[in-house]
Symmetry: C2
Subunit: 361 residues, 2 copies
C-alpha cells in the first residue's frame, strides 16, 4: 500500500488528511505515476458545434482537420474523440489532447497552421461553432484514480506507469486527499468566470477568463472488452443512474457551482460510436464538486454500486482524473457557439471600466 | 453562524477541519451548549434482560427499582426508558441516566443502596439479566446535533442551552469536526474489548474492559407531536430504511467495528410504548462509524431523505449525540446476560498470564 501522492510530491502538511493512518481501503485502486520531470500537463478540449445531420459531415471534417493538426510538430501525445448532444439541442464533437510539456503545447498552439486556422476570418462564416477549453495543471494540481492498471486513458496515457495499491480512496474526501496540493492548500476559487471579450448573445468570437482552482473532472467508463455480465452491470445498472446524475448537473448545475457538464461518447474519426464514454465536468472548486458528489441521490447510488462491484471488476474499466489549475493557465475561447456552451453560461460580463479609471489611464 | 465547537473548547489546531472556511451548510442545525464548568458528563445505560411476556412484570419491576434509585442523593439529572428485542430473541429494558458531575455519579454508584442492590447475591438468582454500560466523556469528547432547538433530549437535557446555527454539518466528516477533541486528536482506539472477569458463555457476573475512544452514538427520533404528514414521512419513508440499516448493524456489525447496535423504543414506567425512539450504537472508533455511515446504502438513503426534508421539519424531531471516552472512564458489567449482549459478543478473553510473569510476581 502506498500514498496516492508520489514521494517527490510530498511536503510537510499544514492540512491533514481526512482519515487516520490506520485507514484501510475496502478494495484496491491505482493512480498514474510520472517522474519528477513531469512538472505540468496540458489538457486541451477542442470542440466543433453543429446542428443535426445536415451539418454532420462538415463538423466531422472540421474535427478531422483539428486531429490532423495534432500530427504537426509539438502536437499532443494522446488524444481521443467524442460526440454529445447538449441541452440546447446542439451536437458537439470534441477532441481532447494531452501534453506533458506545456512549452510544446504553446509552440503547437502558436504555430502558423494552428493559430492561422483558429484566427482565420473563415471560421466565422462556416455555420459551425468552435471552442477551445484548455487547462494546464501542475503536477501537484491533479490526481487520477483507476480501477485497473493497464493502458491508462486520458492524462494517464502521457504518464509513465501505474502505482501500487493506494491508500487514499473509498471515503468521501479521498479525491482531495489525492491532490498533492491538498497537503497545504484548500484549492479555493479566487474569482468568478468573466467575459473578457465578445458577447455570447451575439455569437462571433468570445473569450472567457477563468479563475484559480476551477476543477475539471473527467470521469470515464470503458465497456468495450466487458463480457455479458459486466456489460449488463454497466448498461442496465450503472448507466441509467449515471445519465440521470449527469443530466441533472447539465441542467441544474449553475447554483451548485457546476459551470458545465457534458456526458460524452467516444467516437472514431468517422464518427462511429465506440463502447467508451466519459463525463467532462467543470466546477467552481473541488469543494463544490465534493458537496454534490457526497449528497446527490444519483451519485450516492453510483457510489454504492461501485463499492459493491469494485473488487470483482474484470474488463469493465472505470476511472477518473481531476485537476485544478491557475486562472492564468486556462484558456476558454468560443467562436459562434450558442450562449449556453461551456463556460459561457455562467460567465459574468467583465466589470465596466469606471470613468475615473479610464481618465486616469 | 457559529462553530459547533464552543469558544472555551477551541484550541490551536494540529488537524484541519474537512471543509474550507467558506463552507455554508445547506440547512440550519443546532448543538447543545454548556458553560466552562461542565468538564465531563456520565451516560449510564442500565439494562434488564428477560424473555417474553412471562417475565415482563418482573423485568419491569426491576427497571422501576433502578429508576427509583435515581431519586437518591446524587442521582442523574435526566433519564429515559426504552424497550427492544435483540437478535437472540431476548427482551431488554434500558434506562439511561445522564449526570453532569462525575463525582456525583460516583457517589451514587457507590451508595449502599445502589451498590448493595447490584452486588447482592440475589441478582444471580432472579432469572433476569442485568447490565450496566457507562461512559464518561469529557466536554471535548462529545458532540451533539439537533434539527430543533427546544427541550433537548439525552445529554442535551443536562446542558444549559442551544447554540445558534452551526457551521459543521451537512457534509461527511462533520461529526468528527464537531468534536472539540478532533482539533488535535484522531481519537483512535488503543486496544480491543477484553473479558476482565467471568465467562459470558457461563453467565453469572462478567466484566468487560473497554479501550480508549470507543464511540457511542445515540441517534433519535421523536414523532410524538408530528402532524399526519410528518408522521407519514417518518413512519412510512424514513423508518423502514432506518430499521433495515439498524438491523444490518445489529446482525453484521462485528467485522465493521460496530460492537453493539440497539434500536430501542421509548416506554413509560409501565412499559407502554411512546412515540419516540433512538438507536444506541457502540463502535470501535469514530472512524469505523464514519466508514459505515458514508458507504452503507441504508444510511445513504436516510441521509438523502433527511437532506431533502430537513429545512422543512416542523414537529418531527431528529437528533444525535456522539461521544468517545477514555478506556478507564468506561464500565461494562453484565449479570446473567446472554453471550451476545452489548460488549460481550466482541470481547476477547484477557491474555493469559504467562507462567514466567506469574512466577515473577
Amino acid at each position: 500500500m502506498e500514498s496516492a501522492i508520489d514521494k517527490h510530491l510530498k511536503c510537510p502538511r499544514t492540512l491533514s488528511r481526512r482519515v487516520p493512518d490506520q485507514y484501510q481501503p475496502p478494495f484496491p485502486m491505482w493512480v498514474a505515476r510520472a517522474g519528477e520531470e513531469l512538472r505540468q500537463v496540458v489538457m486541451a478540449y477542442l470542440g466543433v458545434q453543429y446542428q443535426g445531420e445536415a451539418q454532420k459531415a462538415a463538423a466531422l471534417a472540421a474535427l478531422q482537420h483539428i486531429v490532423a493538426s495534432f500530427a504537426l510538430t509539438d502536437g499532443p501525445l494522446n488524444h481521443d474523440l467524442t460526440h454529445h448532444t447538449d441541452n440546447s439541442g446542439y451536437d458537439n464533437l470534441i477532441v481532447v489532447g494531452y501534453w506533458k510539456d506545456p512549452a510544446a503545447y504553446c509552440r503547437w498552439l502558436r504555430s502558423s497552421e494552428v493559430d492561422g486556422w483558429w484566427s482565420a476570418e473563415a471560421r466565422l462564416h462556416e455555420g459551425l461553432g468552435y471552442f477551445r477549453e484548455v487547462v494546464a495543471p501542475r503536477a501537484e494540481q491533479f490526481e487520477t484514480l483507476y480501477a485497473f492498471r493497464e493502458d491508462l486513458p486520458g492524462v494517464g496515457a502521457v504518464m509513465d506507469s501505474t502505482s501500487g495499491e493506494i491508500e487514499e480512496h473509498g471515503y468521501w474526501g479521498s479525491m482531495r486527499d489525492r491532490f498533492p496540493a491538498s497537503q497545504t492548500d484548500w484549492m479555493e476559487p479566487d474569482d468568478e468566470l468573466r467575459i473578457l471579450s465578445g458577447d455570447p448573445a451575439k455569437g462571433g468570437r468570445v473569450i472567457v477568463g477563468g479563475h484559480d482552482n476551477i476543477a475539471l473532472i473527467r470521469s470515464g467508463q470503458d465497456w468495450a472488452e466487458a463480457g455479458p455480465e459486466e456489460r449488463s452491470l454497466y448498461l442496465d445498472e450503472i448507466l441509467p443512474t449515471l445519465e440521470a446524475g449527469m443530466d441533472f448537473l447539465r441542467d441544474n448545475g449553475a447554483p451548485l457551482g457546476c459551470y458545465s457538464n457534458r456526458f460524452v461518447r467516444n467516437i472514431d474519426l468517422q464518427g462511429n460510436l465506440l463502447d467508451t464514454s466519459y463525463n467532462i465536468g467543470h466546477w467552481r472548486s473541488v469543494e463544490k464538486l465534493e458537496r454534490w458528489a457526497e449528497s446527490h441521490p444519483t451519485h450516492l447510488r453510483i457510489f454504492v454500486t461501485f463499492f459493491r462491484v469494485a473488487a470483482g471488476l474484470q474488463k469493465l474499466r472505470l476511472y477518473h482524473e481531476v485537476s485544478v489549475s491557475d486562472g492564468r493557465q486556462q484558456l476558454f475561447e468560443y467562436i459562434n457557439c450558442h450562449a449556453q456552451t461551456g463556460m459561457l453560461r455562467d460567465a459574468k460580463p467583465a466589470p465596466q471600466a469606471c470613468p475615473a479609471q479610464a481618465n486616469a489611464s
